[in-house]
């Protein structure tokens, strides 16, 4: 049994796979390690020291311990064991956090409404202002036509929700009854299809973007949210 806190990867694996006191001590040490890591790791989402963060860290570390014990053989040794364990615990914690944050939001609301205050700090009025140039409007019409021809309304709304409003892929995928990875692959297929279509039309996206950057604020009227 390795001294507490000084295990290398082989010792973590050996102690966790053993039984009796060696395993009990390793589990207690790993639990403390995960709790400490989650308390640091989740501070971008929850207030440090808050009951919410403590409860989530406790729950996630317990679930992570079970998952780690169940999947010890999948650790490939390409990182420190504790980094791998943090990764497992963080996936559990953030999945749980997203589920709670989005459980009362319907799929339609995800696809339609503004949701992420940080992403909404700068909005651009789609009507544009008098400063929108003819060239910019013409380019928008052309790109819009291509998007409408290549994507369904729902497909476009999904991409917009994730890219523009910060809706988590996990939350969106869950409402659609699919895995997050499958959703990512579908969105990749859609982006690739659009990129190829634009190339066939002789449109380089870099030039399109430059059309809007050359003007002011993407050719629209910039509206800043108060108190955002």
């Amino acid at each position: 049994m390795a001294p507490s806190g000084f295990r290398d990867n082989a010792e973590w694996l050996s102690d966790l796979a053993s039984s009796g006191e060696a395993q009990d001590t390793a589990l207690a040490d790993l639990r403390a390690t995960l709790l400490s890591g989650l308390r640091r790791g989740l501070t971008a989402w929850l207030e440090p020291g808050s009951p919410q963060l403590e409860a989530l860290a406790e729950e996630a570390s317990q679930e992570a311990l079970l998952r780690i014990l169940d999947r010890l053989e999948s650790f490939e040794g390409r990182s420190r064991f504790t980094t791998w364990a943090y990764k497992v615990a963080i996936r559990i914690a953030l999945t749980d956090l997203r589920r709670k944050q989005w459980q009362d939001v319907s799929l339609d609301q995800m696809l339609e409404g503004p949701t992420d205050q940080r992403r909404e700090a700068t909005l651009i009025d789609p009507e544009g202002g008098p400063e929108t140039t003819f060239e910019q409007r013409e380019m928008l019409d052309r790109i819009g036509r291509i998007l409408r021809e290549e994507l369904t309304e729902r497909q476009f709304a999904m991409m917009e929700a994730v890219a523009l409003r910060g809706v988590p892929m996990e939350a969106l995928a869950q409402k659609m009854g699919m895995e997050r990875n499958a959703l990512y692959k579908m969105m990749h297929d859609a982006r690739l299809k659009l990129k190829r279509r634009l190339a066939r039309e002789g449109l380089e996206l870099g030039e399109v973007m430059a059309t809007f950057e050359a003007g002011n604020s993407w050719g629209g009227r910039v509206v800043r949210e108060e108190g955002g």
Binding site: S79, Y86, L140, I143, M159, L164, M178, K195, G220
Partner: protein, 97 residues
């Protein structure tokens, strides 16, 4: 599995012709994502498999591994994986206690 995916694709991507409007804001954000799209990209599962190794490499200031740009590109466009990476980097910081 492929049958399930095909059914989901049909459910999601079929239907009436689209009539949505594209705002400059959408074009600005989605345009960048479309422009940077590659034929071969890492998906969320690929990134999760390598995330611990990637985080330690970033922590050491290394960026030489050939797979690292693929992870960077995925993190740019996947908010969920980006959040997991950011949380992992925070967890790897030395404890202040």
């Amino acid at each position: 599995m492929s049958n399930l995916l095909n059914r989901l694709r049909a459910l999601l991507f079929s239907g009436r012709p689209a009539s949505f409007a594209v705002s400059p804001a959408s074009l600005a954000v989605m345009g960048r994502e479309i422009a940077s799209t590659q034929g071969v990209e890492y998906d969320c599962n690929d990134v999760y498999r390598l995330l611990d190794q990637f985080a330690e490499a970033v922590q050491r200031g290394e960026d030489g591994a050939p797979w690292m740009p693929l992870i960077h590109a995925h993190l740019e466009r996947c908010p969920d994986c980006r959040a997991e990476f950011e949380a992992l980097m925070r967890a790897l910081r030395p404890s202040e206690a």
